[in-house]
């Protein structure tokens, strides 16, 4: 029973990381930039849910708040890309990276100005538990798992079978050639940011279902962890991000249950990242990039 509990909790953490890691990996794969402000989109989504839930305690309003958070994050992602990253297209990667870090601090500071630096309690509804034998599973966990699986499957299908997905793959393979084949790269990158940010909003929601407290650095640690997961899986690869996240989630949940090492779980996770990168520098599913000669 203990093992099942560990696995379920690991999957729960894992799919949340996957929601975030997909944003990192898609943006990296398609726009070739590391969007370090991605974690803070989660925080904005969290505050959006916080504000809307505070307006009313009712359950219907909770669902409205989810929709609102997704919309707000999507728009924010598009705006950030348009204002901060698009003017830098063609600039050195370092300039874009620094801008991303700048955006991250900007969002955190704005949140601090608006909501203060104290931790806030978010009135998400308590959904209770379901008992399977002696095993109690929270409804929130089931919803998180189910919703994430649906999202991940539909995203994979979308990228694989839709026209926009095909254009996304084309841009990620060769931006220049795609443009010369008539693909509007700006629109593709905008759509990528929109999808990534919408997923980040969902990740924010799932986090709040686990522990309903929020601060302005709410997204920082999950952001870094999900980035780690994306790198473990092979950044740029969508299935890689999912697998990397599940691996990281399971490791985290195992560390949590072994009391003596629980405080060191972050250190353990990042050490595993280093080890995996030493053995396989491109990550689990990453492709070896052939240099053009």
């Amino acid at each position: 029973m203990k093992i099942i509990e560990i696995i379920i909790s690991g999957l729960n953490i894992g799919v949340i990381y996957a929601m975030i890691a997909l944003g990192y990996t898609m943006v990296y794969g398609i726009a070739k930039l590391l969007n370090f402000a991605h974690g803070d989109i989660i925080m904005v989504g969290g505050y959006a849910i916080c504000v809307f839930c505070a307006m009313s305690g009712s359950r219907t309003f909770f669902f409205v708040s989810i929709v609102a958070a997704v919309i707000i994050c999507t728009v924010l992602g598009i705006v950030v890309e348009r204002v901060a990253y698009r003017p830098l297209r063609g600039a050195t990667p370092i300039a874009v990276l620094i801008t991303a870090i700048g955006i991250s601090y900007l969002l955190q500071s704005l949140a601090q100005i608006i909501f203060g630096s104290a931790q806030r309690y978010v009135t998400v509804p308590d959904l209770g538990k379901i008992m399977i034998g002696s095993l109690g599973i929270k409804w929130s966990t089931i919803i998180t798992l189910a919703a994430s699986v649906i999202v991940m499957v539909s995203l994979s299908l979308f990228v694989k079978y839709s026209r926009i997905g095909r254009a996304m793959i084309a841009v990620s393979e060769d931006r220049g050639a795609s443009q010369l084949m008539g693909i509007n790269v700006n629109i593709i990158i905008t759509i990528t940011f929109a999808i990534g940010s919408a997923l980040a909003a969902l990740a924010g929601l799932f986090y709040l279902l686990q522990s309903p407290y929020i601060t302005n650095t709410f997204g920082a640690m999950p952001g870094i962890k999900a980035f780690t997961a994306a790198v473990i899986g092979g950044i740029g690869s969508i299935p890689g991000a999912m697998i990397g996240s599940l691996v990281l989630g399971l490791i985290e949940s195992i560390c949590d249950t072994i009391v003596p090492i629980a405080p060191y779980k972050d250190a353990i996770e990042f050490s595993i990242l280093i080890i995996i990168l030493l053995v396989k520098p491109t990550g689990l599913l990453g492709k070896v990039r052939r240099e053009k000669v």
Partner: protein, 256 residues
């Protein structure tokens, strides 16, 4: 409507103080196969990059069928009807052969599909995707690539990758196709076959061809007219056989 498909007017570009290409005047008539030759570093690929919007010209302009395209983005220029291949092949390596061609087709008006239908896979999306796949297969048949349609592009042999690149470019329905060293790395048989293919696509796809090539046999056998570049400027221009007899051209090539 101008009588020329492509016309450039004193086209030129400087990188910093370096004048890479200057005063290039090309006038290519419909249905011509036009060659752009010159020693390495003469600025041939730079001209391709100017014509496809990769670089902004510093001087002059160019027009397709009388319409100036200077300053348009690369995809807009493609939509107006210029497509190209690359000196070092740039396929979408991890996609299948047929999907490579479909990427080129996706912007044709007859396969247009709105964002919502595409996201939700509504019937319109399915219908246009199906039509597009069928069209892609037809194009692949022309290039003798039909049997490899589900292969991953990077696994094709070199000669077939070159063909696929031309097929993908043609899928965007260009008026003018730019081929950057199409015969590079091919053996004499493949080169002869490629000459036939280029003539065939000119007729069946109704395109005008501008190509860069070093293989003189290929150029003299295929091109109606030539422009010879040397150090970024035009050295000679005119009918192929006349240009190749020009002593200046021979000197630039042999270095006398």
């Amino acid at each position: 409507m101008s009588e020329y498909v492509l016309q450039t007017n004193n086209l030129g570009i400087s990188f910093g103080g370096l004048k890479a290409v200057q005063n290039v005047n090309l006038a290519i008539k419909e249905h011509q196969i036009y060659g752009l030759i010159g020693p390495n570093g003469a600025g041939k690929t730079t001209i391709f990059n100017l014509l496809t919007g990769v670089y902004m010209p510093t001087y002059g302009d160019f027009s397709l069928c009388g319409e100036s395209l200077v300053g348009l983005s690369q995809e807009k220029i493609n939509h107006h009807g210029i497509a190209r291949t690359f000196q070092n092949i740039r396929l979408f390596n991890n996609m299948t052969v047929v999907r490579n061609v479909m990427v080129g087709l996706a912007h044709q008006p007859e396969y247009k599909c709105d964002l919502l239908s595409s996201i939700l896979h509504l019937p319109r999306h399915r219908k246009t995707e199906y039509a597009m796949r069928e069209r892609a297969k037809e194009i692949l048949k022309i290039f003798d690539l039909y049997d490899e349609r589900n292969a991953i592009a990077c696994n094709l042999p070199y000669g077939k990758q070159r063909k696929l690149e031309i097929a993908r470019a043609l899928a965007t329905k260009p008026k003018l196709i730019l081929l950057d060293e199409p015969a590079a790395g091919m053996n004499p048989n493949e080169t002869a076959e490629l000459m036939d293919t280029i003539r065939f696509i000119r007729d069946s796809f109704n395109v005008t061809v501008l190509l860069i090539e070093h293989d003189m046999k290929f150029v003299s056998g295929l091109c109606d007219e030539l422009t010879v570049l040397n150090f970024g400027t035009v050295l000679a221009q005119g009918k192929t056989d006349e240009v190749l007899k020009n002593p200046e051209v021979i000197k630039a090539y042999i270095g006398g």
